[in-house]
């Protein structure tokens, strides 16, 4: 790896570290007033970071970050006012209190949003109205909490500054000291967040952003991760709020105002969405500009300019400063996706596959059956699954066929848990999973490959497999081992570091199948796996399915009759939502009734 490559790889650690050191050094030199103002930029950067975590990484545009910020500020300050009168020390009280309160509120709001499985739009609007609501409530909210007085419109004053010492004589930090302190806190928060986001948790959050359905199909409880991520962002916002309270010594409802909320996505977009360090760059740039231009022609019209800036950013500069620089740098590095170009067709290694499968069997137990008992699903007047009872048992591959609209996919989706049936039961082994969410069915041993290839495009091939393997074993090293073996079975080792999105359609299908294998499923459901595959690839697939069927229960939904024939297994025909015929393919091919429905002849249509 070249020098430039190595630095690029660690850019998220190196440059913020240098910037923090620089800021600490500069704090002593610069004018105290500038130090005082610059402190607020760092605080705003921290607030921006909280949005970047949930929007840039989590994929949910939250407009409630200033709500957590304000609530953290108020709560932390109330605690600080009361306790610092006793102990002298303010920071020990205000910062944890603010951060925890922010996390708590964000967790509660996130719980409502994510556990209800609200649409993206609904979530954003709910978060926005949460901020607007706090704004209108805080105008008239009056409360005496100990010696802290929250005076509605009049705000809350007498918030202690940053007092690091104990006792009655303890003094607040001078501007330079305050800036250094805030830089330290922000750096700690940044590095903690960066660690979180480059680690396992961050990989799963990335996966959720890229394809939430697939992440759940890998057995992750996605809603829990989303709530945790949102709570972490609330913690950062609350921490920033508590810092802000100590910095300004005064808080009022304008902290919840739309003007304030508007700034947060601007910081993130200026710096670069999803870069984590970007919001600090954005906040410093915007803060610096309004500081040095503040007295000039634009003074007083900051809001107007910021509105225009936001529109401009959205229209023309989506990647921001750091995103743009990163792209420029990457274009000068050797292209990691180069390997994808030379790759030929996938050819699997049958022995390696059998090894992987028998090892999986040793770890995850014997194959499980999948049973549907009088399963019933309706959409208004359409009944795609009409009291279907089927048992898929280990031993041979099962194929589910039927003409268009026969209810194959609906039956599959009801088994997987995408649809909730109105009647009947679904069992994996002996376990009734009729009401279980998707991820629990996966943990019970179900593996699903949907018709379209579902891979995490921005992650590398190896990472894709790793995320799948980690879901089962919950151990980083062991997940590495499993990913490496599946990689070599697929013959994709040369493309291990390539982004999954640059793979060809066929390769993505194989990668997707590889991810399912990483789960060591006991029942495998494949929805039209041969769709869009070449002749050779279909042949490979048939080999794979037959080997797979020796170790697990396999159910294939397929249109391609030739492919179904090569599987040499049991075939079930569905028609108009009902079970129509069962048998091996040659018997069914002779069956006049089956030919009728396929050819649309009158008798049984």
């Amino acid at each position: 790896m070249s020098y430039s490559n190595a630095i690029h790889h660690r850019a998220g650690t190196i440059f913020p570290f240098i910037a923090a050191i620089l800021a600490l050094g500069l704090a002593r030199i610069i004018d105290p007033y500038l130090a005082y103002v610059a402190t607020s930029w760092v605080i705003f950067g921290l607030l921006g970071l909280s949005l970047d975590v949930v929007w840039g990484r989590g994929g949910f545009l939250s407009l409630a970050q200033t709500a957590f910020y304000g609530l953290g500020g108020y709560f932390g300050s109330v605690v600080a006012i009361n306790l610092s009168a006793v102990t002298g020390h303010s920071l020990l009280w205000s910062l944890p209190a603010g951060a925890l309160f922010g996390a708590l509120i964000a967790g509660a709001l996130g719980w409502i949003i994510f556990y209800a499985r609200m649409g993206a739009l609904q979530s954003t609007i709910l978060s926005y109205t949460f901020t607007l609501l706090l704004w209108s409530v805080s105008q008239s909210f009056k409360l005496d909490a100990g010696s802290a007085v929250i005076g509605g419109d009049n705000g809350m004053s007498n918030i202690p500054g940053y007092i690091p010492g104990f006792g009655a004589g303890a003094e607040a930090l001078e501007p330079a000291g305050a800036l250094m302190f805030v830089v330290l806190v922000a750096a700690l928060a940044y590095f903690a967040t960066q660690r979180l986001m480059t680690g396992t948790f961050g990989k799963i959050i990335d996966s959720i952003r890229l394809d939430i359905e697939k992440t759940e199909l890998l057995g992750y409880d996605v809603r829990r991760y989303q709530v945790l991520n949102f709570a972490w962002s609330g913690l950062l916002a609350g921490l920033a709020g508590a810092l802000f309270g100590g910095w300004s010594n005064y808080l009022n409802p304008s902290i919840f105002s739309v003007q304030e909320a508007l700034l947060v996505p601007i910081y993130v977009l200026v710096g670069g969405l999803g870069t984590l360090a970007g919001p600090f760059v954005g906040a410093t740039l915007i803060g610096g500009l309004s500081f040095w231009l503040g007295g000039g022609a634009v003074g007083g019209q900051t809001t107007l300019i910021l509105g225009v800036v936001l529109i401009g950013l959205v229209l023309f500069l989506k990647k921001g400063v750091l995103g743009g620089l990163g792209d420029l740098w990457r274009s000068r590095l050797p292209d990691p996706n180069e390997a994808a170009r030379g790759a030929g067709a996938v050819s699997i290694d049958p022995d390696e596959l059998a090894d992987i499968l028998s090892e999986a069997e040793a770890q995850a137990g014997p194959a499980k059956s999948l049973r549907a008992e009088t399963l019933f699903k309706r959409f208004g007047g359409v009944i795609p699954v009409n009291e279907v009872s089927l048992a898929f048992i280990p031993g041979q591959p099962f194929s589910l066929i039927g003409p268009n609209g026969a209810g194959k996919s609906s039956f599959l989706k009801t088994c997987v848990g995408v649809y909730r049936p109105e009647g009947g039961r679904v069992l994996i082994g002996d376990r009734d999973v009729t009401r279980a969410p998707i991820f629990q069915r996966v943990r019970a041993g179900m593996g699903v490959k949907n018709q379209k290839p579902q891979v995490f495009g921005e992650l590398s091939v190896r990472e894709n497999l790793w995320v799948a393997a980690y879901s089962r074993v919950r151990h980083r090293q062991r997940a590495n081992g499993i990913a490496a073996r599946v990689l070599s079975m697929l013959g994709l080792e040369a493309q291990a570091e390539v982004r999954a999105s640059v793979l060809s359609h066929g390769q993505q299908q194989w990668l997707d199948i590889g991810m399912v294998l990483c789960l060591a499923p006991r029942v495998v459901l494949l929805d039209e796996p041969a769709a869009g595959m070449t002749k050779e690839e279909t042949r490979e697939l048939s080999t794979l399915v037959r080997i797979l069927a020796r170790f697990t229960t396999v159910i294939v939904v397929e249109h391609d009759m030739e492919f179904v024939r090569t599987l040499e297994g049991q075939v079930t025909v569905l028609h108009q939502g009902r079970l129509f015929a069962q048998g091996d393919i040659d018997t069914l091919r002779e069956d006049e009734r089956v030919l009728d429905i396929y050819l649309g002849r009158r008798e049984h249509v």
Binding site: L61, G119, L121, Q122, I125, L126, F130, V309, V314
Partner: protein, 288 residues
């Protein structure tokens, strides 16, 4: 509780719900036909209010000031669509952020041009007597206005060529283009109509809600929540939601405070979204 009081509460709640519906319907049209939430909706309402106010100050009778307000907001809406929204099709969050920027720009422009305090216009004086209670006539009139607006949008969508094209474009965008519907044109018109409806709302509500630069914000909380609770079947959904939530909030507010009404509204919305994460009409079979 005597019957007169009950009638008063019900009538005033119904008029509050109607006011909410009037303020929401433009937003609902844009959301329903373009899939976009216009965060600047409240500011278009404000522009409508100021246009009507300026017109009346120049001597135009109030009834004629309303169409002027509609024309102004429609023009500005069309301009915004062509200059900004059009470039962001398919990027729903970016559209939201851009309209948010527009909202703040309009707000600040209004502060610059009109200042923060402006004189209201007198409410047309007429009272209705129910037993010992007296209700102002103009807010009650809004029940009729809301009904007319609902009917207008219904006929616009079902009986005009534009309406059919617009509904076709949102339901089957590719098919609509394939049969020669120019969806970008339709969208410009839709956005413009949505803004015009907001302008109408701002103007017609002027005697009740005086024009201030920040008046938009006070409406939008409920308007946004109404639209997202309503879900994809925007017209029927919004009417139901506005009556249910708006009426409920108004009753809460009349017993407690208006802030309590807002909180009630938010909590009920959260509860409804819990039950219907994509809006109450997500599984309806009707489309309007």
């Amino acid at each position: 509780m005597d019957i007169d009081y009950l009638a008063t509460v019900i009538l005033s709640s119904l008029s509050s719900a109607s006011i909410l519906l009037i303020a929401t319907i433009g937003l609902a049209v844009v959301f329903g036909l373009m899939g976009v939430i216009n965060l600047a909706h409240g500011e278009f309402l404000m522009i409508g209010a100021y246009s009507a106010l300026t017109a009346t100050q120049m001597g135009v009778p109030f009834v004629l000031a309303i169409p002027i307000a509609v024309a102004v907001t429609m023009a500005i809406g069309a301009l915004v669509e062509v200059l900004i929204i059009k470039r962001l099709y398919g990027r729903i969050f970016d559209t939201m952020l851009a309209t948010w920027g527009i909202s703040i720009v309009f707000y600040q422009l209004a502060v610059m041009i009109f200042g923060t305090v402006t004189p209201g216009i007198g409410m047309p004086q007429s009272n209705i007597q129910i037993g010992d209670y007296s209700l102002a006539g103009y807010p009650l009139l809004m029940i009729g206005v809301a009904a007319l607006m609902g009917l207008f949008v219904y006929f616009l969508m079902t009986r005009t060529v534009y309406g059919m094209k617009a509904r076709a474009s949102i339901q089957q965008p590719e098919m609509a283009q394939a049969i020669g519907i120019e969806s970008t044109r339709v969208n410009t018109l839709t956005f413009s109509i949505g803004c015009g409806l907001a302008g109408f709302a701002g103007a017609v509500l002027l005697p009740i809600v005086p024009a201030t630069p920040s008046m938009g914000f006070s409406f939008v909380i409920k308007a946004f929540l109404t639209v997202v609770v309503a879900g994809p079947v925007t017209l029927t959904g919004s009417v139901l939601t506005a009556i249910g939530l708006g009426g409920g909030a108004s009753i809460t507010a009349s017993f407690l405070t208006s802030v309590a009404g807002d909180i009630f509204f938010f909590l009920i919305t959260a509860a409804l979204l819990w039950l219907y994460p994509l809006g109450i009409s997500a599984k309806w079979r009707r489309k309007l």
